[in-house]
Assembly symmetry: none
Homo-oligomer: 412 residues x 2
C-alpha cells in the first residue's frame, strides 16, 4: 500500500511552525509497512491544495491530510478533499448537536460557522475527536482510493492517528511487512560514554541501534524490519537485552516513558512517598511528578520557596544558615530536603536550590550552579551540578538529576 501526506497551512510555508505531525504520521505508516513516497505541504489556497491532492490521489492508495479542518474561512481541506474524491459533504446532525453542547458546556457563544465542522462525506464518515471540535474525516472512493483528513493541533491529531487511523490502516493492509522500533531511555550517563559501551552493537543494519542525545538523558533507538511484527519484535528484544546488559541501571525505561514515570512506579511499588522543596526549579519538578496519572498515591505535595523567608517559614530552613552560607549551598539544599520530608511526613524529601539564570550569577556561584538533595530516614545525599544552557535547560536538568538520584536510591 502506498501513501502520501499533504500538510495544509500557510504557517507551514512561512516557516512559522515545524511540521512535527507529518514526521509522527510518517513514522506510524512505516511501522505499518505502508510505503510513503512523498510528503507535500501547501498553503491555505484551494488551487494549490487541489493540485497537491490530485497528484497524490493519482499515485497513492491512501492520501492523508493534516490541518485545515477548523471552523474558519481559512480551513479548506474538507472542501478540497470532497472535490478531489468527487464526493459531497452533508451535515451530520449528531455532530452538530455535539458541537452545540460543547459550546454550551463551556459557556462560549456558538457561531454558525462552527457547523462546517459537522459536514461529513456522503461516501465516508467522521472520525471522533474527543479533544477538539473538528472531527477527522474518512473518504472512500469507489475505485478503492482512501482519503483521511486529520486536524492540525497535535493534541487532537495524535490521539486520532492512534485511535482511528492505525487500526483502520492495519485492517486494510492485513498488518504484514513491518518496521518496529523500541527506544531505551538512559539517565545519568553521557552520550559519548553510552556510545562507547555499545559501539559494537551499533554496526548492524537490522536490527539497528542509534543514539540520540536529549536534555539530561540519552535515547537509544533499536529498529528492526521483518515480514511479521513478531519477528521484528524478537530481533529488537534480543538486541535490547544486549544493550541493557552493557548499561545496567542507567536504562530506566522505554519509549514514551519519561523519568518521572519510572520514579512514580518505583515509589508505588515500594509503598513510599516523596515531597519536594524547590527553589530554582520553581515547581517544575512537582509538575513533572504530578503529570503522571495516579501520582497522588505517592506525592502528598511540595513547596516552591523562591524567597528566603518562604524557605524558613514553610520548611524550616534556619534563617541563620541562609545568612551564613547563602541560599545556593549544599547546606540549604539538605535543609530543604529534610524540612519538606518532615513537613509532609513523606518517605523521601527532595530539595533543590541553584541559579537558573540568566541573571543572579557571580564568579563564585555562576549561572548553572545547582545543589540537589535527597533525604530519607537514614540521611541525606547532596549533589552539586554545573549545568550549561538556558534558564529552561538548567531547570530541566536539575529536575532530571533529582529524579535520577531518587530512582537510584529506590533501586538500592
Amino acid at each position: 500500500m502506498r501513501a502520501e501526506i499533504v500538510s495544509v497551512g500557510t504557517e507551514l510555508l512561512l516557516g512559522q511552525i515545524v511540521d512535527t505531525n507529518a514526521a509522527y504520521l510518517a513514522k506510524q505508516l512505516s511501522e505499518l509497512g505502508i510505503t510513503l513516497h512523498r510528503r507535500s505541504t501547501v498553503g491555505d489556497n484551494m488551487d494549490r491544495l487541489m493540485l497537491a491532492l490530485n497528484s497524490a490521489i493519482s499515485s497513492a492508495d491512501v492520501v492523508l491530510t493534516i490541518g485545515g479542518l477548523g471552523p474558519t474561512m481559512d480551513d479548506i481541506t474538507r472542501d478540497g478533499l470532497a472535490a478531489a474524491f468527487g464526493d459531497a459533504l452533508q451535515m451530520d446532525k449528531a455532530i452538530a448537536d455535539r458541537l452545540r453542547a460543547f459550546f454550551r458546556l463551556r459557556g462560549v457563544p456558538f457561531t454558525e460557522s462552527n457547523l462546517r465542522q459537522a459536514m461529513v462525506p456522503v461516501r465516508g464518515k467522521a472520525l471522533d475527536n474527543p479533544h477538539g471540535t473538528a472531527p477527522g474525516l474518512l473518504f472512500e472512493a469507489e475505485n478503492g482510493k482512501i482519503g483521511i483528513a486529520l486536524p492540525g493541533p497535535p493534541n487532537e491529531f495524535i490521539p486520532m492517528v492512534e485511535n482511528h487511523v492505525i487500526p483502520y490502516l492495519k485492517a486494510k493492509t492485513g498488518g504484514v511487512g513491518v518496521i518496529k522500533s523500541l527506544v531505551l531511555r538512559v539517565a545519568g550517563m553521557g552520550e559519548s560514554l553510552v556510545e562507547e559501551k555499545v559501539k559494537d552493537l551499533m554496526l548492524d543494519a537490522n536490527p539497528s541501534v542509534a543514539p540520540y542525545a536529549k536534555v539530561g538523558e540519552v535515547h537509544l533507538r533499536v529498529t528492526a524490519m521483518a515480514d511479521r511484527a513478531e519477528q521484528a519484535l524478537a530481533l529488537i528484544e534480543e538486541r535490547a537485552a544486549l544493550v541493557r546488559a552493557r548499561l545496567g541501571d542507567a536504562v530506566y525505561g522505554t519509549n514514551e516513558e519519561a523519568l518521572e514515570h519510572a520514579v512514580v512506579a518505583l515509589l508505588a511499588r515500594a509503598g513510599a512517598t516523596v515531597s519536594t522543596a524547590e527553589s530554582c526549579t520553581g515547581g517544575l519538578l512537582a509538575g513533572r511528578i504530578t503529570e503522571v496519572a495516579g501520582s497522588s498515591e505517592i506525592f502528598p505535595g511540595g513547596v516552591v520557596v523562591y524567597s528566603n523567608a518562604a524557605k524558613t517559614d514553610l520548611v524550616g530552613v534556619p534563617a541563620e544558615l541562609i545568612e551564613r552560607v547563602g541560599a545556593v549551598s549544599p547546606e540549604v539544599a539538605q535543609s530543604l530536603a529534610e524540612g519538606v520530608r518532615k513537613r509532609f511526613s513523606s518517605t523521601y524529601g527532595i530539595g533543590i536550590t541553584g541559579i537558573a539564570g540568566p541573571g543572579g550569577g557571580s564568579a563564585e556561584k555562576p549561572v548553572g550552579l545547582v545543589y540537589i538533595a535527597v533525604a530519607d530516614e537514614t540521611g541525606c545525599q547532596v549533589e552539586k551540578a554545573n549545568y550549561i544552557g538556558s534558564r529552561a535547560i538548567v531547570r530541566l536538568r536539575a529536575g532530571q538529576t533529582a529524579l535520577n538520584m531518587l530512582r537510584l536510591k529506590l533501586l538500592e
Copy 2:
C-alpha cells in the same frame, strides 16, 4: 519570485527526523518576499526525486533542495538536479584537493567515492561549505530557472543559507519585496468568537489576518507583503490596531510572549506579588511563572497540596470544609487562594483544585472539572471550568485560566 523546496531523504519519509531545515528555509524565503507555493519530501529514490524536481521546476522560478549531497550511493540529489536542469557535472579540481586535505587532516582514509562531492554543474558553481565535505551547488538554466542544492546537516545547512543563499536571492530579487508578520496572542476568547469579531478584517490578502487555535488561547497572525520592510511593518501596525480595537483586553501579547510573561510584567509594573496553591495542576502554574527570568521579584513562592492533609496543614483549608463540600469545590478553591495569600503575605493568591483525570471523576464531578480562585485584599473571584482533553491539557488550560484571571484583575 516563486520558490519550491524539495527535501530529500528516506529518513524523513520514515519519520525518523523532523525537517526543521525546511521550516527554517521557508521562513528565510518569506522574509525575502519570495513566495513558497509548495514544499515536498521524497526518499532516496531517483524516479521519485525526478518527478518532484520536474514538477517543481515547471511551476517555480527557484527550486531549493535539502539533503542527499554526501558521498554515499544514497546521495542522489546532485545527479538528479543535473538531469532536471539539463546540465552536466564536471570535477572541480580545487574542491577535490580540499577534500583530500580535509581527510588527511582528520587522519581518516580517503575513499574515491568522496570525489563525487567535487562534481559541480557546468552552468553553475559550488557554494562553499566550511562545516562539512559536501559543497552546495547552484544551477542556472538558460531559461532563467535556478536550482540550489543544500546539504542536510543543520550545522552545514544554516550557515550556507545565511552566507550564500540569502545574499544570492536578495541580489536576484533586487532586495525588494518582503513579507513580515506579527502574532497577536488572545486569551479568554474562543477561536470562533475571535473570528466573528474580526471576520471583515480577514478578507484582505495584504495584510492578511489568520487565526490559529492553541491550548487555552488563540493566535492571530497578521502578515503583510511590501517592497520594503518599513512598508510591510506599517501595514501590519495599522491592521493590528484595528484587531486590538475589536478584541480589547483579550489581546495580551505578541509573537513569542506567553501568558506568564504578560502576567509577570503586569505584576512587576504594579509592584505586586502572587503566590500559588495548586492541587490538580501540581506545580505547573508555579513552574510557568518561574520560567520567566526575574520572576523572583513578584513570586515569593507557592505550595503544591495534593493531599487533603497538606491543604489543611500548609495553607489552612479547614478539614471540616473539605469533609463537607469535597476537595474539588469552589469553597476549597477560595480557601486555597486566601490561605496561600496570607501564608506568603502576597498581594494576590491563586488556588486551583480539580480533577485532571484520567481517573478520579464521577457523574457529579467529572474529569475536567476545575475551580480556579484569585484572591486579593478586596475579596476572591472563583471560576468553574469544564475542560475537555487529556490530563496534560486539563492541567495546561487550568493554569491558563488562572493566569488570565489574574491578568484581567491587574488591568482593572
